[in-house]
Subunit: 466 residues, 2 copies
Amino acid sequence: MQSSKREGIAGGGENEAFDADKIASALSRALRDGDTGAIEQWIDEELAADVAEALTELEPEQAGRVLALAGREPRARIFVYLPRNSQLEAVAAMAFDTVAALVEAMPHDERADFFKALPDDQRERLLPALAGAEREDVRQLASYEEETAGALMTSDYVTLRRDMSVADAFAHLRRIAPDSETIYNAYVIDDDRRLLGVVTLRHLLTASDGLRVGDLMQKNVVHASVDDDQEAVAKIIARYDFIALPVLDADERLVGIVTADDAMDVVEAEATEDILLSATVNPIDDSVGRAALGMLYRKRIGWLMLLVFASLATGMVLDFFRNTIAANMGLLFFLPLLIATSGNAGAQAATLMVRALATGDVVAGDWLRLLGREAVVSSALGVTLALAMLAIGLIHSGPSIAILVAVTMVTVVLVGSIIGLCLPFALSRLNLDPATASAPLVTSLSDVGGVLIYFGFAAMLLPRLG
Amino acid sequence: MQSSKREGIAGGGENEAFDADKIASALSRALRDGDTGAIEQWIDEELAADVAEALTELEPEQAGRVLALAGREPRARIFVYLPRNSQLEAVAAMAFDTVAALVEAMPHDERADFFKALPDDQRERLLPALAGAEREDVRQLASYEEETAGALMTSDYVTLRRDMSVADAFAHLRRIAPDSETIYNAYVIDDDRRLLGVVTLRHLLTASDGLRVGDLMQKNVVHASVDDDQEAVAKIIARYDFIALPVLDADERLVGIVTADDAMDVVEAEATEDILLSATVNPIDDSVGRAALGMLYRKRIGWLMLLVFASLATGMVLDFFRNTIAANMGLLFFLPLLIATSGNAGAQAATLMVRALATGDVVAGDWLRLLGREAVVSSALGVTLALAMLAIGLIHSGPSIAILVAVTMVTVVLVGSIIGLCLPFALSRLNLDPATASAPLVTSLSDVGGVLIYFGFAAMLLPRLG
C-alpha cells in the first residue's frame, strides 16, 4: 500500500507491500560496503515505523550503526517504534551522551515508558544527565500507575490563556508547533493550570482576529483523571471521536493529554488481553513469535493446572456412576457430544457477555433481563440439537436411549448456557475481570453438570424406559 | 468523567458519569410540560454522542420531537450517533423534506451507510430529493463493497494545488474549514485528481508565506485502494499513527479519506468479531442485549450442530474401546481431565496464533518456526501436568494407571497444542478466517485424539504393566 518510487536500499515499486526482510538485507549490504549515503537517504525518505521494523530484522550492532546515521530528531522518532527489547539492546550499545540526547528528543509519554523499562542502574545514571525540565517531566510521568490515564498521557500539549486574542494564539501555536504532540486541540487554563476550555485549530482558523480565546473556547470539557483506567479513557475518545482527551490531577489541574493514536493502541491491547484470557492465556507483553519460551510456559501453566483439578470433579462423577455405565456401555457413545455441547453453548453465552460488558453494550445490572433472553435462546438451541440426537439415537441405540439423550441434551444446553451467562456477571460482582470466564473454564464447569445430568437421568429413566 | 455544571435537563455535577436513563426521564418530563426552551438549551450544551444515547432511551415518537427541536446541523451530528434501528424509526416519523435536509447535512461516509440501510422504496424517493452533488456523492460512496476502504471512507476532505502559495492555501482552508471532516491533512492533487502529496496544517502553520504547497508537501504518500479490506486500512492508520489515510481508485485518483476515528471503530469491531468467533458465535451487528432472539439463535446453532457431529467421532472411539473400558472401569476417572487438558492446551496455542495473525505479530510463513517453539513449550506444560497426575494416579489407582495417565498426559498436551497451533495457519492457507480456529473447534478435534491415545495406550500398556 506504500506508494513510492524508491531507489537504493528499498528498491520497491508502487503499491508494493513493505518488506522488512528485503530492506534489512539491503541495509546490511550497505553497512558492509560503507555506503552510508544510501542509508541516510533511505532514513530520510521512509516513515519512522517502517525504518524501525527493518531495524528489528538486523543484528543489534548493525541496528545501532544505522540509528547512529540518523539525525537527532529522526532517531528519536524511529526509536519509539522499536519493540522494547530492541530499544534496550540499542541503548546498551550507545555512548551515554547519545542516550541522554535521544531521551530528550523522544515524545514525552514514550520516554517515560522507556525510562520505566530501563534497569535501575541505568535509570539512576540517566536522570542527572537530562536537562532540568526533562528530568522533572520524566520523573512525574513515570510515577503514575501502569494502565492509568496518567501512564498513558503525554505532557506535551498546547495551552492558551483566555485573554489571548486569536492573532496571539496563532502566533503562539506557530512558535511551538514543531515540538508539540498535537496542536489541533489547545487547552485554555488559568493561573493554577485549571482547565477552563478547549479551542480547536479549526475554530481558531475560522475566527476573526479580534476575538479572544475565552470567547471562542468550548467550556465543560470532557476529561479524564490521572487514576482513571486506560480502558475507560480509550472508550471516551472512541465515543466522542476526539483527537485528544485532557487529563486532570486530583486538584483538577491539567497535567497531560491522551491522544487518539494511543487510545487506538489501548483498544487493540485490551482486545488482545481479552482474547488471550478467553483461552486461559494470561496477558503477554511481547510478540508471541519472539517472547521467551519460559515466559510463555508461565503464562499458560497456571490455568491448565487449575482446570485439571476442575476436571477431577467430572472424573469423580463418572466414578460414582460406574455401575450405571457398566450396565449400559452404549451410554458412553453419547457422552462426548453431550458434555461438549453443554460446554460449547455455555462458552457462547459467556463470550457474548464478556465482550458486551467490555464494550459497554450491556452493564452488570442487566443480568437478569439477559438471563431471561438466554433461557429462551438456549432452550431453542437445545430443542434443535435434541431433535438431531433423537434421530441418531434411534438409529444407533433404540428408543430408550434416544429419548434419554434428547432429554439430556435440552437440559445440558440450558444449564451450560446459564452457567456461561452468569459467570461473567459473578466475576464482575467479585471485582474480577469478567474476561476470566473463558471457554475452557465454562466448559469445565458445565462438564460436571453435564455428566451428573446424563447419568442421573440414565439411572432414573433407563430402568423405566426398559 | 464529564465535567459540566449542567442545569435543567441534565442537572449533573462535576465528574458525574453520563446517566442516559436519568436524562431521558427529564427530557420526557420537559416534553410533557412543553418546556422546549430547556430541551433546546440542553442540546446546545451536550455532546452529540450523549444526546444520541439519551434519545435511544425515549419512545421513537418522543425522540423525534427532541430531534425536531435541534437545528439542522446539530440534528445531523446527533443523528449519526444513533444506532441504526433508532435512525430508521426516527426518519419513518419525519416529514420527507426534513429527511432530505438531514441527509444533506450528515457527514458523507455516515450518510452513505445510512442510505444503504434504508428500505428500497425510501432510497428511491430520497435520491431525487437531494441536491445534485450530494446525490452523486451518496450514489458513489454507497456503491463500494461492505468492509472495504471504499465503504469506510468519506469524500469530505481538503485538496490543494501544488502551485498554491502558503497564504492561498490558508485562505482556502479557512473558507472550507466549517464543512470538512478534517482540515488537519490536506491532499495535493493534479488536474486528474492524482495524489501528489500531503500537507499537514501543522506544516502550513510553520511555513513562510512565500513558499508554495508543492515545496512543502510530503511526497510518496502512504495510501489505500478502494477495494482494500477495512482491517488492513485500520492497521496502516494504527501503525503510522495517522490522522487520516487517503484512498485511491483503480485509476490512482484520490476518491476519499479514512479518518482515525473510523479506524478505531474498525479495530474494535474486528476484535469483537474475532472474540465471538473464538466461542463459535457468528458476527452480530446489533447489541446482544437488544438483538432479536431469533437472530441470536441463528448465529449460534450452526457451529453447535457441526460440533455435535465432530463429537460423534469421539463417541465412536469410546465405543471401539468398550472392552478395554469394561475391563478397567477405573480408567474413566481420568478420562475427563485428559481430554479436557488436551483441548485446553490446544485452545491456548490456537488463540495465541489467531490473535498474533490478526495483529500482524506473526505471518503465515512463520508457522514452522512457531511449531518448533510450541513443541518445546507444550512438552514442558505436558511434563508438569503429568507429574501432578502421577501423584494423583498413585493415590487413586496405583502405579500402572498412574504411569499410563502420566504418559498419556504428555502426549495429549503435545498433540492438542500442535493441532491448535496448526489449525489457524491451515485455515488461513485455505483463505478462511484463522479466527474460525475457536476453542470449541480445537477442543472437539483434540478430544478425538485424546481418547484414541488414552485407550490406545491403555490397551497396549495395561496388560504389560500388570
